[in-house]
């Protein structure tokens, strides 16, 4: 190609992860374009709760990424101000029985060893933190690093702050490659964008972009529902969930799991999430899921029994079989980078993901070892249903 590329990098995807990639790449001095077939935050980002959680992650690569992100979100919140509704309100994980509390205590001790702040709260200390919690709980652990943003606003403001050229409402039809097989740009339904690097931040559709480059990346949708109550005064102060959430989240099963995470929002409504099940892209409302979430929320906060559920929404998490995202250069295709497959933790993990990708793009040393996130870690599977073995990972 004779023409000078107009950009150094094209990011595919205008969700929070793509916006963070654009933001850190632009900050590193690169010329960035962002392409999305829909608007900003049109996929999983727009259906998320905005959880920035370390509390639900066991020690390992994802927790490392989450801890790095925690600090980056604090910096971003200073820059973007109140616009993204950042709230460092902390998480509170509660156990209903002594056995559950013992397990939670052990989990927290292992997290503490790698830098998570976790403070055990005895049963009689819970009312001071959450006055409306159900009586009779065995105790809990407070995680001050857990925080929240409004995810669509976060993506939109990160993207605006990046100054990247936006091509929204344009579908990527193909990736351009050099004779040597390196990716060198994208073809949309309206234009061609040449660049030395392309970042796949297409979320739940990340596997399709990988396929355009001729490589395998088994991203699958994992459906979730969130209940939204009528606006209420601040009756829930933290992100509150039961200790069994962690086990539920980490399951690789396709079957339905629910474990309510309850939290208030600056606008007033209480959010109750989230279920997880692998049912493809089926958008149909599941009454059973709503009922289970409501029952679990009411068990944690009996006061919620008296409020109205005003709406519900659903989304599809980009799920990879080992619950870790694909982040960084693809060893199989020069010029192709991935930033997708964050399942339900994408809002929280976005800044660290964007930073790692930007550091790889510029050849700087990376803040973390990106090896666990390599996109070529999945075997190409034969017949449907023979997924690689599942290891348990957390999720926000």
């Amino acid at each position: 190609m004779l023409t000078q590329p107009s950009h150094d990098v094209v990011v595919i995807g205008a969700g929070v992860v793509g916006a963070a990639c654009a933001y850190y790449a632009a900050r590193a001095g690169l010329r960035v374009a962002v392409v999305d077939r829909g608007p900003v935050a049109g996929g999983t980002t727009g259906a998320g709760e905005g959880n920035l959680l370390v509390s639900d992650k066991e020690p390992g690569p994802e927790l490392d990424l989450a801890l790095l992100s925690t600090g980056l979100w604090r910096d971003l919140a200073e820059e973007l101000g109140a616009a993204v509704e950042y709230e460092p309100k902390g998480g509170l994980v509660v156990a209903s029985a002594p056995a559950g509390l013992d397990a939670l205590r052990g989990f927290a001790a292992r997290q503490r060893a790698v830098g998570v702040q976790a403070e055990e709260i005895p049963a009689d200390g819970l009312p001071a933190l959450e006055p409306h919690l159900a009586p009779g709980l065995a105790g809990g652990v407070r995680y001050p690093q857990d925080a929240q943003v409004q995810p669509a606003l976060a993506a939109a403001h990160l993207l605006r702050a990046s100054g990247a050229d936006r091509h929204l409402g344009e579908t990527v039809r193909a990736l351009r490659t050099t004779a040597a097989g390196a990716v060198c740009g994208v073809v949309t339904d309206r234009r061609e964008l040449a660049a030395a690097a392309v970042v796949n931040a297409a979320g739940t559709w990340g596997g399709e972009i990988a396929a355009l480059a001729g490589v395998h990346l088994p991203v699958m949708p994992r459906r979730g529902f969130v209940l939204v109550t009528e606006p209420l005064p601040r009756i829930v102060r933290h992100k509150v969930y039961a200790a069994d959430y962690v086990a539920d989240v980490a399951s690789g099963s396709a079957a339905l799991q629910t474990s309510a995470v309850v939290e208030g929002t600056p606008a007033g409504p209480v959010l109750i999430g989230a279920s997880r099940e692998r049912v493809g892209f089926d958008r149909t409302l599941s009454v059973e899921v709503l009922q289970r979430l409501a029952a679990q929320a009411a068990a944690l906060f009996p006061v919620l029994r008296g409020v109205a559920v005003q709406r519900a929404y659903r989304g599809f998490r980009p799920y990879l079989p080992d619950h870790l995202p694909a982040v960084g250069a693809d060893p199989r295709v020069p010029g192709l980078y991935h930033a997708c497959g964050h399942e339900g933790a994408g809002i929280g993990l976005a800044p660290a993901t964007g930073l790692l990708v930007a550091q790889q793009l510029t050849g700087d040393p990376t803040a973390l070892d990106p090896a666990p996130f390599r996109a070529d870690r999945f075997k190409v599977v034969g017949p449907a249903g023979t997924e690689p073995p599942v290891t348990d990972r957390g999720e926000a």
Partner: protein, 483 residues
Amino acid sequence: MPISPSDPTAPHRDPAAVPYDLAVVGAGPAGLAAAVTAAELGLRCALLDAAERPGGQYYRHPAPGLGAARPDRLHHHWPAFTALLARLDTQVRAGRVDHLAGHHVWTAEPGEPWRLHAVVGPAGTGSAVVEARNVLLATGAYERQLPFPGWTLPGVVTAGGAQAMLKAGLVLPGRRIVVAGSGPLLLAAAASLAAAGARVPAVVEAGDYLGYARTPAALGALAANPGKLAEGARHAALLLRHRVRLRPRAAVVEVHGEDRVTAVTVARLDSAWRPVPGTGRRIACDALAVGHGLLPQIELATELGAPTRTAPDGAVALAVDERLRTGLPGLWAAGETCGVGGADLALVEGEIAAREIAGRPVPTALRSARRRRRAFADLLAAAHRPGPGWTDWLTPGTDVCRCEEVPVSRIREAVEELGAGDARTVKLLTRAGMGWCQGRMCGPAVACLSGGGPARPDSRPLACPVPLSHLAEAAPRPSDGRS
């Protein structure tokens, strides 16, 4: 069992009872006609309606306690309604129709049988699950609103709301009432208000009435619906008698007043509904009744993925075949849900749907009546489709979403600076449409300001708010082994 009451006020049913043959959602003209026809053909029916008394929005009538001596004076179609009520009464007594009043269906689960989940009672304290082999959606329509500066002032009411106040409560929203917006409802509302003693200084219609009769096809549709012409003539005569001025191709572009309406500014519109500069004229009044036609209320079906069509008035309606089947097995639709067309059409469609569901032949006359009335409805709809230029009468500070107090400027910022390209994203970034009415009031305006291409059904997974305790109590126990 068809009903599983969770409170003592819900109707009691034999637990061994089988699902209903048909559950009709909505007891307006379409739903009433369908329920009585189906029952007369031998089907066991449930007729669910959010209101306590049958009739829907159209056959709204004074509460018995008000002692209205002549409710028929508010209605030219009163005899048709009383006849339907008498047939309903017969079927209820015969045990073929259970009239489940005060049942607001919040979701429908497809299957054999279908399961309708309802919130019950005026305070929403009860709940019920109704099972039926077929479901007919006759949920009617709600008013389309377009914002303008000052539309949140006390004294501004919806045109349908003004009529409802009059029909149900025998009260007027003011003494000197300007009626504005677009659509056939305006003439009916103005006629009712004037007949009830209000002074109506002007009916301000954004569309062009003469537009109806400009094409041969339109003339044909008019000629085929003489009843509609007579109805229009009746309204016109009444308005003339009360010295009501009709101002076509004009709109209220501003409302004046401190604590409540004292005047409105009316401006002429060009063919794209853009206000023509320099044509503004003030009209003193103490109330404004405004509406821009009706929108089908179809979220129960669209949440399930039922196919839709865009009607000539720009509204999203359910797509049905000639038998009134939606795209989902066992789900049928009649009346306004298939595209707004008025009570006469709704009655015909309700009857056709009931006959189809019962597997009985549909008389040719009924089919041709439907085709004729649909053609007329499409003609009217096209004449009242809002032009894209209406957004010119907005100011940056005009509230678009009243529930969440989101002004025009924030929506424009979301679109122009933050990358929102459709109504859903505007909602996520501004909260427009997230309030109590769930976008029923601001939905069309937000969609228009978002520039998000062709109309799409609003997403409303819960058709009405549901007490959390209902959901929690109905949750399967862990011992159900369903996890």
